[in-house]
Symmetry: C2
Subunit: 162 residues, 2 copies
Amino acid sequence: MSVADGARPGEVRLATDPASIHDATLAFVGRILSPWTDRGDCPRNMREARERGREAAVEIGEPYRPALSGLAPGGFAHLLSWLQGSRRDLALQMPRHADRPTGTFALRSPVRPNPIGLHLVRILAIDTASGVLRIDAIDALDGTPLLDIKPYLPSVDRPPET
Amino acid sequence: MSVADGARPGEVRLATDPASIHDATLAFVGRILSPWTDRGDCPRNMREARERGREAAVEIGEPYRPALSGLAPGGFAHLLSWLQGSRRDLALQMPRHADRPTGTFALRSPVRPNPIGLHLVRILAIDTASGVLRIDAIDALDGTPLLDIKPYLPSVDRPPET
């Protein structure tokens, strides 16, 4: 580890950039159609995204459209995205407005060894022919590749009573 | 698309196996240490896993251990895993006990174009030196590669009031 180049004071870099490691490969199954084309303007999280009051969409690639069968509008789903512009080599990061560096696994920053975004969205409408799903909001840039859609199930996605 | 080889009636296969597409690459950051070594014995989801009453663990690879800094025991986190034994080429699947084929994106089956597992777990203890996190339960086989840890945040991970 070393202090990260071009990073904020206190940030620490991994010795090997995970981008150079090829343990497994991904296939993009679609892309996010988002109102946000500028990184500085993109909401930081889904709460901020909903507060902006702008709908978004997801376009599924043609081969994968049959896999939408059974998905219902009105329900919630997790989208998994590939945050392709993000660096992957930081172990400790300095979040904006934070007073000390924090480990990547304690943050929801897009900067992580595998920059997979997890977005809980409401599905408003589904057009199976065009593969376009309208969603309530998104905290990702226009064109962000999509990896997966998983229906939200309270029985497994909500912390259990303790 | 065609009827899937070695699959159940009604299942439909993608023309191109996503395993042969290399749009992006992943780095394994650790592995799951699980009581389940046999696929037939592995819980089907996190609810079933908790009902079994068996704790599990996650071991983070040495380079990534500093990234645990700031993660607190007692809280919940999403684990993202790589379900490496799963086929990736089914668009429509026939779940057990189902009466009709359903699209992959409407199911939580491990069979999906990108077999990324999403597991909401409670972190019981963290040993930063060894990189071992004890967790309450897991619905994955022993040795399953780990891709990411994301802290659970109710503000973004819980469906909003409507």
